[in-house]
Subunit: 311 residues, 2 copies
């Protein structure tokens, strides 16, 4: 059964984003220059990116039956994400995040509330659905379920992609089950005794993944495979909000892999998609469609990957 | 036409409140210990307080026809507030606030977005409705409309109550039209050349109001009338969130005036209602009903005002 391009399992939240001239102090008021309410969560945003680019995706997560959960589900359906296996816990509250974005730098503070819907029970997983894509995308949340899903995917010949968002010890259990590991500088650096992310990328790859990508924000990305290493610069763009830029990178990266592009083209494509997102407040609103990424690449003197090659 | 106890005109917003262990810094995550989404705004909260205590109220404000505006209207209707004259601007966004509450102190940072619904047009006001209560309650927002409403109220013999929330020059135009001025220490202090709020309270009363109350948070309140001055201590209670405590004070104060209680009993009752509110996250959820305030006063060794005296 291969009905979808990518199936994801992970965290989803409803995000409330405020653009502020500076972070407020206690007993101080600050104007919100802009406000937005959007769906969020690492895997959910990556899947929306894939869907907007043209891939077919499904999502397994867990929300409450509150207004936030209803809004999240409606948002994912509107994006074409198959949420038939999304779990809705009666009487529970959904994950919600308050995100304040600094107008000067585009950097942000994320305050996350997990809600009360709890973890996905690994014994009740629809394993055939989780293994129905060419890739299984995980973010380390619902870690027991993620481990079961990753092991099943390996057996079924489905590639596993992991967004390793932080130095969580449970994430390291997933790394040996991962084909494509995309992570930030901190997680990679923590994998090396000397704290060097390049060294860490090599050590992480030695644990199993055939591709390790370290995303470094304005410093671009660093890719390590059996064929060697290369760096991809970031595009210089006006930044409104960096929220979700990494998630969009992951989604666009998977899209490039699905299309069978060379890895340097994949990294550049993902970098372009992430750069475009940074022009808009919120993790979701600014996610580009395929044509917008191609146009962006042309505007920056790059040749977009071919449209019709199917990987 | 005297169909309501109090009619209010002012700002209403939808508030997103997060309880944080400390205010976050840039590029830092923080857990939300609790999250709430509630209607807010100074006059709106005071009216909800009045309604919960047993008074009949109406509200004139302005929102967009977005999801936030719909949620706000539903919330006010559920509280028994007459919103028949609330203005809904098609295609506009409603006022929304992100409020981070420090878990240690209960103090908060309010980041407010006014939305795009704009100001209430003073030429289109339903003046008979605004003058249909025994009190007209204003917060200085929609200042042109507030001035028209206050002047009409004076002519109609309706008492005007003003929540002077900040040192806005337009607020000073309302003071001479005000019967009951309730304000914070900062506004009162700004009215005196020497910056002393007691001195400022006297100067503000000389501008017209028969009652001036300065609310001072944990330091209680200070009342100035033609009969003299007195201080009312605050109740010592565990504080979760001070958001809306002043608004609840205003609403409960008006309730006491409607009932014709002595001013020291009114101030103590308002102080008790505000103290109860501080035990709950958000400006609205913790607003007490009449019986809860009476019980609180008894628990603190005070005699609640008589239940059946109608002022």
């Amino acid at each position: 059964m291969r009905t979808l391009d990518v199936v994801g399992l992970g965290f989803t939240s409803l995000d409330y984003l405020g653009l502020v001239p500076h972070l407020p102090r206690l007993d101080e008021g600050a104007p919100l220059l802009d406000f937005a309410r959007q769906g969020g969560g690492p895997v959910a945003q990556a899947l929306v990116t894939l869907s907007r680019l043209g891939a077919s995706v499904g999502f397994v997560g867990r929300v409450g039956d509150d207004e936030a959960g209803t809004a999240m589900r409606a948002g994912l359906v509107a994006e074409g994400v198959d949420i038939g296996r999304l779990q809705v816990e009666p009487g529970a509250t959904s994950g919600q995040c308050i995100i304040l974005v600094d107008h000067t730098s585009g950097k942000r503070s994320i305050c996350a509330h997990p809600g009360s819907a709890g973890e996905i029970d690994p014994t009740g997983l629809d394993v055939p659905f989780l293994c129905s894509g060419r890739y299984l995308h995980l973010d380390g949340h619902h870690s027991d379920a993620a481990l079961v899903a990753a092991r099943a995917a390996r057996v079924a010949g489905v590639s596993v992609c992991l967004d390793a968002g932080g130095p969580d010890p449970r994430l390291l259990e997933l790394v040996p089950l991962t084909d494509v590991l995309i992570t930030g500088e901190r997680f990679a650096a923590a994998a090396a005794p000397n704290g060097d992310f390049r060294e860490g990328a090599g050590r992480l790859r030695a644990m199993g993944p055939r591709i390790v990508v370290v995303t470094r924000g304005e410093h671009g990305s660093f890719t390590e495979t059996a064929d060697g290493v290369f760096a991809t610069p970031a595009f210089r763009v006006p930044v409104v909000d960096t929220t979700g830029a990494g998630d969009v990178f992951h989604g666009a990266y998977l899209f490039g892999l699905l299309r069978g592009w060379e890895l340097d083209a994949v990294a550049e494509f993902a970098s372009a998609a992430a750069a475009i997102k940074c022009g808009t407040l919120g993790g979701r609103a600014g996610i580009p469609r395929r044509a917008a990424v191609s146009e962006f690449l042309r505007d920056h003197g790059r040749r977009p990957p071919p449209a019709m090659v199917v990987g």
